[in-house]
């Protein structure tokens, strides 16, 4: 049997196959169901993809991306965030840094300078590191409380509608509290930026935004004043107006920096119990 014969025999054998002259109704039903199913699943997938795309675009548009979005008027934006801060309620812990002019250039040098003095080792370390911690219970305008452990010591400031108290130590013992008008060394946290801006009188610039305490922030700076006392300030706010970073520096003067490390919503009423005098 040669190739031609073999092909011929194969064709003969194939003649035994049934004829497909008409499609069985059951087959057509199956095929139609399959087509419908395919179209339906394609449409569902398309709708899902489009829906997710739209949701994604909306999420991107509504997401607070302060640092990435251009600010047309930095001063207006800063004022708006400052105003929002004045109506926010939160408890925020800040890491603070304070340096005075003429201080030792390094913590090591500082420790050597105060060694043998009256301060204990822990206080000496805090003084020389220049860093401290501040807890702000913020519920303006009626009440706020600031507990600070800084190189200057431990103190608390309590502001209520009845007035403002400055207390030494952290336990608000009545004997150690005195009435005060001052906002303390970290007044930048509780004063609106407009005060500093009016004092410096220079245009506001947009600074690179960054993530502080896990929150994306938008930052602004200002620098100006007389040549021998350039005043520089910087603020970083979250999109909803929480103040996360403040820097205040006068050339040749004191530098204070507060940077949030922990943010929680709301305040506790216990923070605002006024000690009896």
């Amino acid at each position: 049997m040669n190739e031609t014969d073999f092909r011929h025999r194969l064709f003969e054998l194939a003649e035994d196959a049934p004829s497909g002259s008409s499609a069985p109704p059951a087959l057509l039903r199956r095929a139609r169901r399959r087509v419908v199913l395919t179209i339906a699943s394609s449409v569902a997938i398309a709708v899902l993809v489009v829906g997710m795309g739209i949701a994604g675009v909306r999420a991107l548009q509504s997401a607070p991306t302060p640092a990435d979005s251009p600010v047309e008027d930095p001063r207006a934006r800063l004022d708006a965030l400052g105003e929002r801060w004045m109506t926010s309620v939160a408890t925020i812990t800040y890491r603070t840094t304070e340096r005075d002019p003429g201080e030792a250039a390094s913590p090591h040098q500082c420790l050597r300078q105060i060694a043998g003095g009256e301060v204990d080792r822990q206080t000496a370390l805090r003084i020389c590191a220049g860093v401290g911690e501040l807890r702000l219970a913020w519920d303006p305008p009626d009440r706020w409380r600031m507990d600070a452990a800084s190189p200057d010591g431990i103190f608390a400031l309590l502001s209520t509608p009845e007035g403002r108290l400055r207390c030494r130590g952290s336990d608000m013992v009545a004997k150690t509290c005195v009435a005060t008008e001052s906002s303390g060394p970290f007044g930048s946290l509780v004063d609106p930026p407009a005060l500093t801006l009016d004092e410096i009188g220079a245009p506001v610039t947009v600074e690179a935004g960054r993530t502080i305490a896990g929150i994306r922030s938008e930052c602004f700076g200002v620098e100006g004043g007389p040549a021998d006392a350039i005043h520089r300030a910087e603020w970083c706010y979250s999109g909803d107006g929480l103040l996360l970073f403040v820097l205040d520096q006068v050339e040749g003067g004191r530098v204070t920096i507060e940077e949030a490390t922990e943010v929680s919503p709301g305040v506790s009423d216990r923070d605002f119990i006024v000690p009896s005098t």
């Binding site: 049997m1 040669n2 194969l10 054998l13 002259s21 008409s22 139609r32 399959r34 395919t38």
Partner: protein
């Protein structure tokens, strides 16, 4: 063909037309791969349903026939893989009496010899000598290397030479 498929809707009449146009050739191919009328019909129907479901996604809608052919080959291969396990089990249970070659017609002998080939060899031979595909086309359809197809055909034809006297 392309124009036909582009106008396909899910109405039964169009699907029926498509079936009538391609069923005969598909059934013959399926029958040569399976040697069983009922099985051949089942495979063609399954293949038709599958390809009909993918009509909207076919990269080349005009190639319905080629897709159908490829689906039949794949379904036959899957079927025989499944059957191989069953067959080995059944062979252990009962030894079928060998058929007397003198009692069979030439056509039956060829069918028996063809069906005795492994599915790969049988598919390669049917595609080459019945569907008349080239070695490259056969390789593409089977998802194998052309060299592998050549080897399958050669071994299959070698077996047929001894069983039914094919001299190709």
């Amino acid at each position: 063909m392309g124009a036909d498929v582009e106008t396909i809707r899910i109405e039964g009449s169009l699907l029926a037309d498509l079936y009538v146009r391609h069923a005969d050739e598909a059934l013959r191919l399926s029958y040569l791969l399976t040697g069983d009328v009922a099985l051949a019909e089942d495979l063609v129907q399954d293949a038709f349903v599958r390809v009909a479901g993918r009509l909207l996604h076919l990269r080349d809608p005009g190639g319905f026939h080629a897709y159908l052919r490829k689906t039949i080959v794949n379904l036959a291969r899957s079927h025989y893989r499944r059957r191989a396990v069953e067959r080995r089990f059944l062979e252990r249970q009962t030894e079928a009496p060998p058929a007397d070659p003198d009692d069979l017609s030439d056509r039956e002998r060829l069918r028996g010899a063809l069906m005795a080939l492994p599915i790969g060899q049988r598919t390669a031979i049917v595609l080459r000598y019945f569907v008349d595909l080239s070695e490259a086309q056969t390789a593409d359809l089977m998802g194998r290397h052309p060299g592998a197809v050549k080897s399958l055909v050669s071994r299959g034809m070698g077996t047929l030479r001894t069983t039914v006297g094919v001299d190709v």
